[in-house]
């Protein structure tokens, strides 16, 4: 009897592992969000999304409510008290064998100057990867206007590369959310992705990051 139960238990375990392999998992930003779309006075704020959304085939959880009374995103501008200086957040992930990380990130204002936003991925066995996002290439001003209105508009293509495409635009076509796609270096494939750190060194009226959602996947982009 015991001999019969063992393979069945193994079978259940393997089926579970198979399903887990295909996991696309939204990461909670509940402890980091610091304002709502309208609280931050974004243009077209009432049209901005919240809740479970699917963009480019990827599922995201954007916090917030219809009434706009709950914070929706992390705004670097608010973190810096609308002043200058470097601000950062470290988001715990703790998921094994992550291959791809997706973010919904834009900026208020925007600059093509390099070094103003970085994202660092940290693995459980020492792997780290820091990627510098450049305005007009990897991230755009959320508002189609006078700042950064272009992005690289492509997918990573191989490990240790990043790409950016559009995720959402409102019906006016003037406001948007971008999707950054990070294909992690190979070292992460055997480690647990411990955390993601976003560092913003911008300033008011120059560029400040907005992070609306993070989703990770154990498959390639």
């Amino acid at each position: 009897m015991m001999e019969r139960k063992l393979p069945i238990l193994l079978l259940i375990l393997c089926l579970g592992a198979g399903l887990a392999n295909a996991a696309i998992k939204p990461i909670s930003l509940a402890s980091f969000v610091n304002n709502s779309w309208c609280g931050q006075a974004l243009l077209g704020c009432s049209t901005f999304p919240y809740g479970t959304k699917r963009y480019d085939g990827i599922t995201y959880d954007i916090l917030g409510t219809k009434e706009g009374t709950v914070n929706t995103a992390w705004f670097a501008s608010d973190a810096a008290g609308q002043g200058s200086g470097v601000v950062s957040i470290t988001i715990p992930v703790k998921i094994a064998k992550v291959k791809t990380v997706y973010t919904l990130m834009n900026t208020e204002w925007g600059s093509t100057q390099t070094g103003l936003i970085t994202i660092t991925f940290t693995g459980s066995a020492g792997a780290t990867w820091t990627f510098a996002l450049t305005g007009g290439v990897n991230v755009r001003d959320y508002n189609n206007g006078n700042y950064t209105d272009t992005c690289i508009c492509q997918l990573p293509g191989s490990v240790a590369e990043s790409g950016t495409i559009n995720a959402w635009t409102n019906t006016s076509g003037q406001q948007r959310l971008d999707e950054q796609i990070y294909e992690l270096p190979t070292a992460f494939a055997t480690q647990t992705l411990e955390s993601i750190t976003i560092t913003d060194s911008g300033n008011e009226n120059v560029q400040r990051a907005i992070l609306a959602a993070v989703t990770v996947s154990t498959t390639g982009p």
Partner: protein, 225 residues
């Protein structure tokens, strides 16, 4: 004993499924378009033609085969401008595919000149059991002028389809000198999943000096984008 064996077989199957799901690259197949290409980059006076790619390439993680050679003596792509002999009128080309259970089709397609007028360019996919899907490609949304010049079509949707029966376009290749190739991503309607994708037909109703499409490569996948 029989139950034991069944459990072992199912265990092996589940392990295989687990490994398959962990595979990085989707099951893609490059489509041979050698029977339809009608010109080379330089014979068509493509700006900075010598920088244009040929051979096996990977863009956005998808493999492509662009025909041609380093001497520029072998045709690279299908040009509707050549097919129309530099004049007006509707031209079309049918690319044979004959691959089962295709979910996604990737093309490298751009235009000579470009306009936002709809109805000038369409792609029709035909399945073996009657499924058909026609997508109208609009300049500035689904396809761009290959040459960035500020006066024709310099924008694309810049996103992935997101659902069956949708299409989207992202950038595939740039040379850093103002020329580019775009990648159209077509997520076929569900009906195609049980059929063989027999062919795709490109129909161009543009005109010289207005908009004429060209096709450089086609790759199909039995996975979603």
């Amino acid at each position: 004993m029989k139950g034991h064996n069944i459990a072992i077989i199912m265990l092996s199957f589940s392990l295989a499924m687990g490994l398959a799901q962990a595979a990085v690259k989707p099951p893609t197949t490059t489509v041979d378009i050698s029977s339809i290409v009608n010109t080379t980059w330089c014979a068509s006076e493509i700006i900075n033609c010598s920088t244009f790619p040929f051979g096996a390439q990977t863009y956005d993680g998808i493999p492509y085969v662009i025909l041609g050679n380093s001497h520029g003596t072998a045709n690279n792509f299908w040009s509707s401008e050549i097919a129309a002999d530099g004049g007006s009128g509707t031209v079309s080309v049918t690319v044979p595919i004959n691959i089962a259970k295709v979910k996604t089709i990737y093309t490298l397609m751009n235009t000579l000149w470009g306009t936002t007028q709809s109805g000038l360019l369409s792609v029709t996919f035909t399945g073996s059991a009657g499924a058909t899907w026609t997508v109208n490609l609009v300049g500035g949304t689904n396809v761009r002028d290959y040459n960035q010049n500020g006066s024709t079509t310099d924008t694309i949707l810049c996103q992935l389809p997101g659902a069956a029966g949708k299409t989207a376009t992202v950038n595939a290749w740039v040379n850093g000198e103002g020329q580019r190739l775009d990648e159209q991503v077509f997520e076929l309607p569900a009906a195609f999943r049980t059929q063989t994708l027999v062919s795709m037909t490109i129909t161009d109703s543009g005109n010289s000096g207005e908009q004429r499409s060209f096709l450089a490569a086609v790759t199909v996948s039995t996975a979603l984008p």
